[in-house]
């Protein structure tokens, strides 16, 4: 099926009680464009984790701030872009925990980034000179082994 490029945008106050609205927005779009339930759940959870990080870390629970969530659909993938204007935090510098030792040490917190990277096909983060921070997460319609080789 050929899909045209489409964008969906949500601007929402940075509050944890809005996470449910964010999840419904993300899962609604992912379902509509044809992802199977298991992938819909993965995209929903990854977006929740990205927004939770923004609420708690970038904006430090300041509810007067807004989060921008953009979903872009093209013929091969869904891209979620979460943008904030708070404190930058480069997740590329966070070492991924080795889950076995992580569980053995019973460390608390920090699971969110591990989940995002595990649930999505691509995750990237950048701080723009304009002061915006952007988390970009991609899910392809086809699993890697089924995608045409470039």
């Amino acid at each position: 099926m050929k899909r045209k490029t489409k964008s969906y945008l949500l601007k929402i106050p940075s509050q944890t009680d809005n996470l449910e609205i964010i999840r419904n927005f993300i899962s609604g779009v992912a379902k509509k464009v044809g992802f199977e339930e298991e992938d819909v759940n993965k995209i929903e959870l990854a977006a929740d984790e990205a927004c939770t990080n923004v609420i708690k870390h970038a904006y430090q629970n300041d509810e007067s701030k807004d989060i921008d969530i953009a979903i872009k659909i093209d013929y091969q993938k869904l891209t979620v872009v979460v943008t904030d204007r708070g404190q930058s935090f480069d997740m590329r510098e966070v070492e991924l925990p080795d889950m076995k030792s992580y569980l053995a040490e019973l460390r608390v917190g920090g699971l969110g980034i591990y989940l995002m990277k595990t649930l999505m096909d691509e995750v990237d983060y950048r701080s723009k000179p304009s002061g915006e921070n952007e988390v970009r997460m991609v899910k392809y319609f086809l699993k890697k082994e089924k995608r045409p080789v470039k």
């Binding site: 944890t16 996470l19 999840r23 759940n41 929740d48 076995k100 569980l103 699971l111 989940l115 649930l119």
Partner: protein
């Protein structure tokens, strides 16, 4: 809108916590308070029944992680019962089945405490 509920039932020395709805960064503190209450009462043989839990994020998983060490030090445990497939998949992704005993039925989890 936000239908998260925590209920508690004591079955002799075992306490069962029932979670309903969404366990995320907004609701995790309610679950945390329920576990803290049990620990304060020295009721550390805990079963968390997830049959009505529809969603869990890392904020909820962090609550399980935050209490397990303390509870086990006090010779108790946190056992998980009746997660649906969606919730179980998240536990599985993080390797929780290695760390926590997960049961298909609440009664089996309670029985396991009786056996020890």
């Amino acid at each position: 809108m936000n239908a998260f509920k925590v209920k508690r039932k004591d079955v002799k020395e075992v306490s069962v916590i029932y979670l309903k709805g969404y366990l995320d960064a907004h609701t995790a503190h309610e679950f945390e308070e329920a576990l803290q209450e049990l620990v304060d009462e020295q009721r550390v043989r805990i079963v968390v029944n997830l049959s009505e839990l529809t969603y869990i994020s890392s904020a909820g998983l962090g609550v399980f992680m935050g209490f397990i060490e303390d509870v086990r030090k006090k010779k108790g445990d946190i056992k998980i019962a009746e997660p649906n497939e969606k919730v179980y998949r998240v536990f599985d992704l993080l390797g929780f089945p290695v760390l926590y005993e997960i049961f298909q039925q609440e009664a089996e989890a309670i029985k396991k405490y009786r056996a020890t």
